[in-house]
Symmetry: C2
Subunit: 254 residues, 2 copies
């Protein structure tokens, strides 16, 4: 039975704690926050809470705090034995190099506290500093998920960048589409079947095969008509830039 501490009280910490509580060969020892206030939000999860400085050592300590806090928070942990791993997609392994045994356990998903998460389906990317530590981290990752991959810090940075395109940018395109609908008193629901179809095709086949629209055809007449319909300069700029990227991409494919 390995003991685990979780440092952090955000959404990743909450979902990790919930998943770890259900594992048979691991014991969730404590969840630690930077303040009493943060800890109080976690009363519904039956677990032991404390402040970081009160933590007792565990076999594995998972540091699930915001990207820019990983290094600083890890320095407030009052012990340095066992394996330490942060859960961030964009923070390099060496943010924890002040420990002897350290690594990364990055679950590639966007977490909200209220979501019901099937951790088993979430890809987990792992990395360790010392090769002999891989077993302990890989075993935990495999207990949590069916999809475990070893990647380096530089690969993880590229993956995190790709995730920004696949999640942040697409989501904002949905927001812009929704705003355009609302502005003209059209229901965003009208676009939902199209959105579902777009994504199903991208997931099941290949997004390159299902690209359509004026930019792919380099239909400058429609593109200009659309630009005239847009009033917000940011929307115009997104339209122009995305259209140029699409046109260029498919011209180069030919």
């Amino acid at each position: 039975m390995r003991t685990i501490n979780i440092v952090g009280t955000g959404n990743v910490a909450w979902h990790l704690a919930t998943a770890i509580k259900g594992l048979s060969h691991y014991k969730l020892q404590s969840i630690a926050g930077r303040s009493d206030k943060a800890i109080k939000n976690y009363q519904d999860l039956q677990a032991s809470f404390c402040l970081i400085q009160e933590l007792r050592q565990a076999d594995i300590t998972l540091i699930a705090v915001s990207d820019d806090a990983v290094h600083q928070v890890s320095k407030t942990i009052p012990y340095d034995t066992g394996l330490f791993a942060h859960t961030s997609g964009s923070v390099a392994l060496d943010a924890l190099s002040h420990f002897e045994h350290y690594g990364v356990l990055y679950p590639l998903q966007s977490f909200s506290k209220k979501d019901s998460i099937t951790f088993k389906e979430i890809p987990i990317c792992i990395e360790v500093a010392i090769e002999s530590d891989i077993g302990i981290l890989e075993n935990l990752a495999l207990a949590l998920s069916k999809k475990v991959t070893r990647i380096s810090s530089s690969e993880r940075a590229q993956l995190h960048l790709a995730a920004v395109f696949a999640n942040n940018f697409t989501n904002h395109c949905f927001t812009m589409a929704q705003e355009l609908c609302e502005k003209h008193k059209l229901s965003f629901d009208l676009l939902k079947p199209l959105i579902v179809k777009t994504v199903n095709k991208a997931i099941l086949s290949n997004p390159v095969l299902s690209q359509t629209g004026p930019a792919k055809r380099n239909d400058t007449q429609t593109i200009n008509r659309h630009l005239n319909l847009l009033e917000n300069p940011n929307y115009k700029e997104v339209y122009t830039t995305m259209s140029k990227a699409i046109t260029t991409y498919y011209e180069q494919k030919l």
Copy 2:
């Protein structure tokens, strides 16, 4: 029993023909193409085919050809009785104003011939020139789909523009994410659970509530690190423009 002709042999025509053949109060009279060659692709659909100039008049004639061909092709139809409707999202109603009775029946979906389509779930936007023609077009739309909405040509233009953001631009973001993965020998599959989650949240809740990432936080350090990782100037430009649009959008919300 109303008779229907379909002019066009593309994907929209094919799916419309398939759906109409299944309706009880309508008879698919003929599908007409501009050439024998196009018609030959449709042998698996048991229906009567002819060239446009050979068409006999029907109660409803649906013109399902590419946007820029609607007006020109409609002029080659050898009769002018009955109701004519085109199926294009971006073509105004008056492209058919040389007929007496005309309108638009726009199914808002992206069609590929091989897809299995549940027409009942596809929003259909309708418009007529003469108010007394609405019944005949609305009845056909309601026979095809549960989701029928009357919108004007200018609303349809806005909706089509919103669809470019919701479909074309998001799909190219998936393509860029996929290319970034492939370039670094990372599996695009790693991002798929994230993509599914992004879309489910946007559809079931509101994309504004689920925006995350460096641009929303205006985390210029991560943004600059990402820009340094991108080599392709089009990717850099998309990253910069989308990030600016996101940062500005959420700053204005505060």
